[in-house]
């Protein structure tokens, strides 16, 4: 269909549109200039925006630190970290620099940077290229953590993040880059505040809170469950921090059952935070124990069958939700 874009193209379009609308936006990363990014997210941008889409050396820490300095001086840098696992090499600059500078300087400094980085298993990249690490960043005061699940969200959330004066860790789905397509359409975020969650399927049986590519898996599971009369309400969290408690609470108060699904490792994952919040704030609305469904405590293996043995998918979600609905 004309007007349809792939997820990766939506990212590229958002970058192009922000580069066009704000001369202070610059894009920095590895292999993004001549190559156009290993996932094509910057293809053609270096030619269209001369001198503003720039290859860095293989130096993630200096790159993020450089972006912080550039932000202090008035630019709005967007940094691409090629795979989310590599972000470990830039951790200090993100956690001790970008996240804390506003606080440490008593409000003198803002750091409007976006760190875009793809995560997900499912592409056969093995243990050092597949891990979901968004929880690390959700734990750090000072950061916003975005995780879009659709083409319009990839586009609109990236544009919003580039305009955000807070540092944003923007977790893209490399699984969806070339699988998910759709139209960008008009901006469709909620009207209350910029970090709203979205109810992507209405239902009265169980609230399934999820994000990223697990939204599509949860929706598929919901369709199968509907055949048996189990109606899931699927909430796409969109932002891991801040997470939208109002939308979650409204949904949980309707369904009285909560399941959290994510691809990050379950132990100490962001689902634990939501679980704990719901248990203490919505205790009397719950008719069953809260359940988490996430990746067990192991690195993501290479072999496809091993990988799919670990990461949640529609079938596993379906049976877990069925159990919870019956509880």
């Amino acid at each position: 269909m004309a007007g349809e874009l792939k997820y990766a193209e939506a990212i590229r379009r958002a970058l192009a549109d922000e580069l066009a609308s704000d001369p202070n936006v610059v894009v920095m990363g590895q292999e993004i200039e001549a190559l156009g990014g290993v996932f094509t997210a910057t293809q053609g941008l270096a030619e269209s925006f001369e001198g503003r889409v720039l290859d860095t050396p293989l130096a993630e820490s200096a790159t993020v630190g450089w972006a912080i300095g550039a932000a202090m001086a008035g630019l709005r840098p967007v940094v691409e970290i090629m795979f989310m696992d590599f972000i470990a090499t830039a951790m200090d600059q993100i956690v001790n620099g970008a996240a804390k500078l506003r606080y440490m300087s008593g409000g003198q400094i803002t750091v409007p940077i976006v760190i875009r980085t793809p995560s997900d298993a499912g592409t056969g990249h093995g243990p050092q290229h597949s891990q979901h690490l968004e929880t690390w960043f959700a734990h750090v005061p000072g950061l916003v953590v975005a995780m879009p699940s659709t083409v319009p969200d990839a586009y609109w959330m990236l544009r919003q993040s580039i305009r955000d004066d807070n540092p944003v860790v923007f977790v893209e789905s490399k699984y969806l880059y070339f699988r998910e397509s759709g139209e960008i359409g008009p901006e469709s975020r909620g009207t209350a505040h910029p970090y709203e969650a979205r109810i992507v399927r209405n239902g009265h049986s169980v609230t399934v809170v999820t994000a990223g590519r697990m939204v599509a898996e949860s929706l598929a599971a919901a369709e199968s469950l509907a055949v048996d009369g189990i109606e899931c309400e699927v909430v796409d969290l969109r932002f891991i921090w801040p997470y939208d408690r109002e939308t979650l609470a409204q949904s949980i108060e309707r369904t009285n059952r909560l399941m959290i699904v994510h691809e990050a490792v379950q132990d100490f994952g962001w689902g634990s935070e939501i679980c704990s919040w719901a248990a203490s704030e919505l205790f009397y609305s719950l008719d069953a124990p809260i359940r988490r469904l996430a990746t067990p405590r192991a690195p993501i293996p290479f072999a496809a069958h091993l990988e799919s043995a670990l990461v949640p998918n529609r079938t596993i979600i379906e049976s877990a939700v069925r159990d919870l609905a019956m509880h």
Binding site: A62, G69, S105, E246
Partner: protein
Amino acid sequence: MTTPEETPSSRSRPSALDLYETMVRIRELETRIESLHYSGKMHGSFHSSMGQEGAAAGVIGCLRSTDLVTSTHRGHGHAVAKGMSPTTIVAELLGLQAGSSGGKGGSMHLHDIGCGFLGENAIVAGGVPWAAGAAWASRRLGKDLVAVSFVGDGGAAQGVFAETLRMARTWGTPLLVACENNHLAHSMPVERTFGEPGSIAAWAAGFGIRAEYVAGDDVFGVHRIAAEMIDEVRITGRAAFLEVEVWRVRAHSLNDPDYRYLPRDLGKSHLQTHDPIANAERSPELSDAEIAAARERVTQEIADAIEAAFEGQAAAESLATSGVYTEAFEREAQLRGW
């Protein structure tokens, strides 16, 4: 030295007296801060730059007010030399609302954007890429400014330090990295990590940038070479590296009082042989009358600054959780219980 001359940045160079006075201002402030700690009026960490004032005054003396500086955990001298108000510094060290960060930063987190002091950083070498990026961005935004990043000999071993020099070589940025080699990274002698004085510069030269060594107990010598290098950095937009050998007089910090890894009187002997202030006083550049007048001025100024700082109020406890995100964000957070 005493006659002002024009630099390419059309800034008149500081006189010998200016350089001297800056050093004395740093020494006086840090000496007073030390006593405030000993008398229990201040708490927390404090890393004295006593003996290293020649680097701060000599290098920053070459900068314009619009130029930028990033610093280290041992950065009070850099802050003062860049023009940060001693009252604001002391108020911050006292944890007061009137401090540069309202008491949220403390000794290792002085920031004053207004005077181009982007800030200290308690993560060793963490500020080096900030200076590089800020200088690069400023150049792109049409500002004719340079940045200086201070780093220690210990910091020169950090990955981000090497990464930044590599990236500076790749992208070009009007940056001078001023490496204060004070012979020690806490207790680790630089001889074990890099070698003889000058070896850090030799290593930095391998990044394909101009790298020089200078002895930091002669503020005029530091200033001469730094001025020449900063002019070049400003004109070419290319990064450069200056190793300044200095002598740490105090223990690593106040939390390191026993100094067990070095002879106890080493610091004192450094003051006899390598004190940049005493050396300046012995030089023909300054008259005894100038020296005495400067000392009197500065002593009074710092005493007044400290007195003024003590008049400040503590920040409200409720502020401890604010200022993490932008104001608009925090209004929503308040409303919605994030």
